[in-house]
Symmetry: C2
Subunit: 373 residues, 2 copies
């Protein structure tokens, strides 16, 4: 009964850690036994709670975790240490910034080295400590965002001693369009990656994000790095039946009201009622992450029936036309914002964005509950 777990909050997210584990195992099953399957838990575990997600995946056997920056890494390290998971690898995709060297070492964080500046910093750090510090080497194959550019890779190939004394665990790159299986960019990036790889014999490699993991075994190498698929969203709409739904989002009915034909609903009066109507005001708004573009497009589930979101989404509430809803279902006092007829993918479409943005921009106001299915 969600109203009781909501407490004094008007909406709550239930995150199925068992489903996240199942999704991780599914991605893991796509590659051979010699390929490690890491987990992306950056952006607070795609908005769902990096600590809980990483701990659940660690219990399921995942040993490699990626975050964006050192702040995220330290928070996660401290939590995992407390929970007895001391041997896990945590990698910072943004690498070691000027002021982050000591704490990378102190918190046993592995930086992804994205350019010569980061490499030389980490190399110097390693020498000062007479320690072979771990690192990943990120070479750019077409994203033009992070990673060594072509000139820097050329330099590196000619100056391999720059890597001496470092424990380069993986050579990695990142796919631009993996979610479009037939985009020729994929094969181009793969070819470029393989070409560079020849210059780093014996170094394990990693290229695939979630969508890349689904492309073909050619993209798997020694480590895949799924993110969005773990959280139940299918980047390429190809494995929807294989991925388990992770997020349930429920919100309280804070008021039920009668309205007349001719009444307007919400800010700007954009929705005109063409019949006597019953309106439910729901305690979720754009401040909770319910995108403002969903007004007039989304539907919610009330018992077994769906009802349309009408008028503009407010900061703290939305209005739903429940005229056709059996009053018995309204008695339960809450609605489901994500449901079979209106899943994450459809919500993202109506919000004119991608599921990644829906998840990572869920607000802090909804309470979060974790279950293990």
């Amino acid at each position: 009964m969600p109203l009781s777990v909501m407490g004094h909050i008007d909406s709550c997210l239930t995150i199925d850690l068992g489903a996240i584990i199942a999704n991780w195992r599914y991605i893991d099953s796509l590659s051979s036994a010699t390929t490690t399957t890491a987990a992306m838990v950056k952006a607070n575990g795609y908005g769902l709670g990096a600590k809980n997600v990483a701990e659940a995946l660690a219990n399921a056997g995942c040993t490699e975790f990626f975050v964006a920056n050192l702040g995220e890494a330290i928070t996660l390290r401290q939590h995992l240490d407390e929970r007895g998971h001391k041997q896990l690898r945590i990698m910072t995709l943004h690498g070691c910034q000027r002021d982050g060297l000591d704490d990378h070492v102190a918190f046993r964080i592995t930086p992804v080295l994205n350019d010569l500046e980061q490499l030389s910093r980490w190399h110097m750090c390693s020498q000062q400590r007479s320690e072979s510090l771990p690192a990943l080497l990120h070479i750019d194959t077409g994203m033009t965002r992070l990673g060594f550019d072509a000139d820097q890779i050329d330099w590196l190939i000619e100056n391999k001693s720059a890597l001496d004394g470092l424990d380069c665990r993986y050579l990695m790159s990142h796919l631009v369009s993996a979610e479009v299986a037939d985009d020729p960019t994929n094969a181009l990036q793969l070819a470029t990656f393989n070409e560079w790889r020849r210059w780093f014999p014996g170094m394990p490699a990693s290229l695939a994000n979630s969508a890349g993991s689904m492309l073909s075994p050619d993209y798997h190498f020694q480590m895949t790095r799924p993110g969005i698929a773990l959280y139940g969203a299918d980047p390429a709409d190809q494995a929807t039946d294989k991925l388990m739904r992770v997020v349930t989002w429920q919100a309280r009915i804070i008021q039920l009201r009668q309205a007349k034909a001719g009444d307007h609903v919400g800010y700007g009066g954009t929705h005109l009622l063409d019949r006597p109507s019953r309106i439910a005001t729901i305690g979720v708004g754009y401040a909770d992450g319910y995108n403002r573009k969903l007004g007039g497009k989304a539907s919610v589930l009330i018992g077994p029936q769906t009802a349309p979101v009408i008028g503009r989404v407010s900061m703290d509430s939305v209005t739903v036309d429940v005229t056709d809803i059996d009053p018995a279902h309204l008695q339960h006092g809450f609605v489901e914002l994500l449901h079979d007829d209106y899943n994450l993918s459809r919500m993202a479409g109506d919000a004119e964005t991608i599921a990644y943005e829906i998840l990572t921009r869920l607000g802090t106001r909804p309470s979060r509950h974790y279950q293990n299915s």
Copy 2:
């Protein structure tokens, strides 16, 4: 020097509490001395930190604070009590839900009563305690979202004893289109409100949000309830020069790279470089609240120069074309995401939304710093 305050985080928000106070005083100055100016601090103070904002405004003389639900109210009450501000009023716009009566009383929270059900609950609660509990009475004048509907108001007028024993502090309603000064809905709602008001003689009244406060003194009554204007955004684009900017948002340059003419930038390779370019990758992405629609539209400030955001916004980073930027400015290592040429209003426009959504959906990852100008 922001890089030092950022610590291991890649972007930081600086919130000018002095500017919030100045904006509150400006709205307060629009109405007569007998009109109280409350403050909307719901949705965690429009994303900027309800505790800090409310405390600053309390120090400046504000005594009435609105939040959405009881969860927000309790968090704020506990903070303000700790800081010695025990006499302030905190009101829940969503009113007293079924399970929230005892805690409304325990934490001295005043509910806004939105319908007969909430009224009868609070009335019963009041009787059980033989105490005249405070409340606001919200009547709907056209929003069809929260507040007594027409039938319920009629009933109430005929059954005034339903209010006996309650301390009804204000009769309130909410404007639908106050940000459009010449929208006839404003005058209609004002007339309806005044008509109902006659039936509650002696009860103070409140109608105006930020934009309503700027319409005319007719809308002020005994209390105005500004929100967005406090945070530096002008709902009606009429007082832009009167409102002080509240939010500074800076982000770290995490990598500088060279790219060739013909290279594509970012996911989907949507941005094609037509000349040899220098690209800065900035540590802010949509997970931080930097809307995904800003890719290819926004600009950032680097020293005294602006540079365009190119390609798609990623979860944790954006790419900026800094080819024309003086390298000396890049040395500082950070950029401004909001600046004179690209303020909150322009960012909201490019994101196809309103400043309210930009602010309330700022992520938790950027660090927050408070200053008092």
